[in-house]
């Protein structure tokens, strides 16, 4: 029972990181129907940016986080402008290949000697680790901070999307891009903003992971990227609350299956859930069914 509770706490923490990445996937998919594979590497760049800010610039935790978020938001916008915008009206496959190409570029750019090199690095301790005991459960201050930041960012994001003018423009664009353009919405700006928001959240996830599990390497984004992508699909891709829920669910599934079933097979279990959900309810748990018309 105690291990179960402890694992649930750990799972929610891991899940909050997945949720932050999954929101980026889901927002971009919602607005331009694109699976952005480079997103997981923006998360990786975010972690490295946090590392850079903490070691070279010697910043504290919050400035570190903001530095990483801003730089990744700019990076995300740049990638969209340079690589995806010229292809917006071409076939889906082409765009997917381009995102994969961007993934390779980002990974190998960070791997290059003049940036970070291929070796793993340890994230510096920006906040000293303190563990609290709640009955039989141990919870660290880092976990609490990670969870709190995730919750705050999710609330802010929900506010932006649902209550502001920009958010309304985003929803309109995702509903019908051409009609939104006719109504005077600057589509390019909205799409750029979406990428910026998604990338900033991924960067946050990167810094949080750097803090919780202090190991950085250029290929660190691939597996969390895939899993948070599964999380986005689980909640219904294109739906932001769905991505949050899916992220937490994936975190729980991963930690619990690691403890109770098999640590090696936990990835396989996560992906089997993905396949089962897609077969039973392809639009995800929160998605609505829309019929294809001829």
């Amino acid at each position: 029972m105690n291990t179960l509770l402890q694992q649930i706490v750990n799972g929610i923490c891991l899940g909050s990181v997945y949720a932050l990445i999954a929101i980026g996937y889901t927002m971009v998919y919602g607005i331009i129907k694109l699976i952005n594979f480079a997103h997981c590497d923006i998360y990786m760049v975010g972690a490295f940016m946090g590392y850079f800010a903490a070691t070279v610039l010697g910043l504290g935790f919050i400035p570190c986080l903001i530095f990483s978020m801003v730089s990744c938001a700019i990076l995300g916008m740049l990638i969209e402008r340079i690589a995806y915008k010229p292809l917006r009206n071409s076939a889906n496959v082409t765009l997917l290949i381009t995102t994969m190409g961007m993934e390779l570029i980002l990974q190998n750019f960070v791997k290059a000697d003049f940036i970070a090199g291929p070796n793993t690095r340890d994230f510096p301790q920006v906040i000293p680790l303190v563990s609290y005991k709640l009955g039989s459960i141990t919870i660290s201050n880092l976990q609490i901070i990670a969870l709190a930041i995730t919750v705050i960012l999710c609330i802010v994001l929900q506010y932006i999307v649902n209550k502001t003018q920009t958010g309304r423009a985003m929803r309109a664009t995702s509903y019908d891009r051409d009609a939104a353009a006719l109504m005077g919405i600057n589509i390019n700006k909205v799409i750029s903003l979406t990428f910026a928001l998604g990338s900033a959240l991924a960067a946050t996830a990167g810094v949080l992971v750097g803090m919780l599990y202090p190991r950085l390497e250029p290929a660190m984004g691939v597996m969390p990227g895939l899993k948070s992508f599964v999380a986005a699909v689980l909640g219904g891709i294109g739906i932001i609350p769905g991505a949050m829920f899916g992220g937490i669910a994936m975190g729980l599934i991963e930690t619990l299956s690691k403890v109770y079933i098999s640590s090696g097979l936990s990835d396989a279990i996560a992906f089997s859930i993905l396949i089962i959900i897609l077969i039973v309810k392809p639009t995800g748990l929160f998605g609505k069914k829309n019929n294809v018309k001829v």
Partner: protein
């Protein structure tokens, strides 16, 4: 009256069959000559062992890319787990030769059959999904296969299998690639091929025309995946070492880039795409130190630039074939004689 018609049909059929067989024979002879010529160059030392190895590698991945092109380019089903079928073929055939001492061809066939069975099992439920959902599902499937192989100790787990006899000769790769190419070419130019391509253009319209889309999607998926199985078997006996990580998500993406670069829905495009993308990193390796260190980076940048400026791939859906080349030259001659001809052609 009826008899007359059937007689004519019979004559026509036998004539058609004759021309088809002569065409096959000519193709086989030409291919054999190409092979002999290449072997001659190898024997003379003009093509070094290194390039022969590279050619083998191109041939192996070409087989997988052709299979993928059938699924992705001709049927329009976006699959991202093609490397998983390669791994099934590789493990199946490697176990056959290493643990059961089976002859190489039988091992290859076992690999193909295993990949086909798996494709049939997984394809039936997931091919109902469309577009991005299918892509995600196949991606998940590929990861599952990888993780399961990593956790089965009998096949070596994450360490993989080493010491597989290196039985893949250039002849086998050459024959395999030519055979796959021929099978696909004939399939595509048959009525079944047209049904398959109609699913790519518009699945709902195809179903309305009475085409059983599930059946044809399954056919294409199984054929394509068994080709990946063959490629996997050849790869295992070419590299003599396989591990689950080398057939992961990134390998699937690599195969997709081969197909997309050459042009989806173009068999000769796959040949060109595979050759360029396997040769390019090797060529960049030889250029200078900068290229040597950053070759994957340069390769990725080239890929993105290529997608931005020529998204349909090098050939699009066109094919390079003898008749097309003749047509091209005839057209070229005509346009060079008169310019008015060109206008008429444009009108056509």
């Amino acid at each position: 009256m009826e008899n007359g018609i059937s007689k004519n049909e019979k004559n026509l059929n036998s004539r058609l069959i004759k021309t088809i067989y002569t065409r096959y024979i000519i193709t086989t002879v030409v291919l054999a000559l190409i092979y002999v010529f290449l072997m001659f160059l190898v024997n003379q030392g003009i093509i070094s062992e290194y390039y022969l190895r590279l050619m083998k590698q191109i041939g192996i991945f070409l087989i997988a890319a052709l299979g993928l092109n059938l699924i992705l380019g001709f049927t329009g089903q976006f699959t991202m787990g093609h490397a998983a079928f390669m791994s099934i073929g590789a493990y199946g055939s490697a176990l056959m030769t290493k643990n059961f001492n089976m002859p190489f061809p039988i091992a290859l066939i076992v690999g193909i059959i295993l990949a086909a069975i798996l494709a049939a099992l997984i394809g039936y439920p997931i091919l109902r999904l469309k577009g991005d959902y299918l892509a995600i599902c196949t991606l998940g499937f590929g990861e599952i296969v990888k993780v399961i192989i990593q956790n089965v100790d009998y096949v070596g787990g994450a360490r993989g299998i080493s010491g597989i006899p290196g039985k893949t000769s250039f002849l086998i790769v050459f024959i395999g690639a030519a055979l796959c190419y021929a099978i696909l070419k004939n399939l595509i130019h048959s009525s079944k091929g047209r049904a398959i391509m109609s699913i790519r253009e518009d699945e709902i319209a195809a179903e309305a025309m009475g085409i059983n889309s599930t059946k044809y999607k399954m056919t294409a998926f199984i054929i394509g995946s068994s080709m990946a199985g063959l490629a996997g078997g050849l790869y295992a006996h070419f590299n003599s070492f396989i591990d689950p990580a080398s057939f992961g998500f990134s390998k699937s993406i690599e195969l997709i880039t081969y197909v997309v670069l050459g042009g989806m829905g173009s068999l000769s495009g796959s040949v060109i795409g595979t050759s360029i993308l396997i040769y390019l990193p090797e060529a960049l390796r030889g250029l200078s130190d900068v290229f040597k260190t950053y070759r994957i980076l340069i390769y990725a940048i080239l890929l993105v630039v290529m997608m931005i400026f020529r998204p349909q791939g090098i050939l699009g859906t066109r094919e390079i074939s003898v008749s097309n080349i003749i047509k091209f030259f005839k057209k070229f001659q005509k346009t060079s004689i008169t310019n008015t001809d060109q206008n008429e052609k444009a009108g056509e």
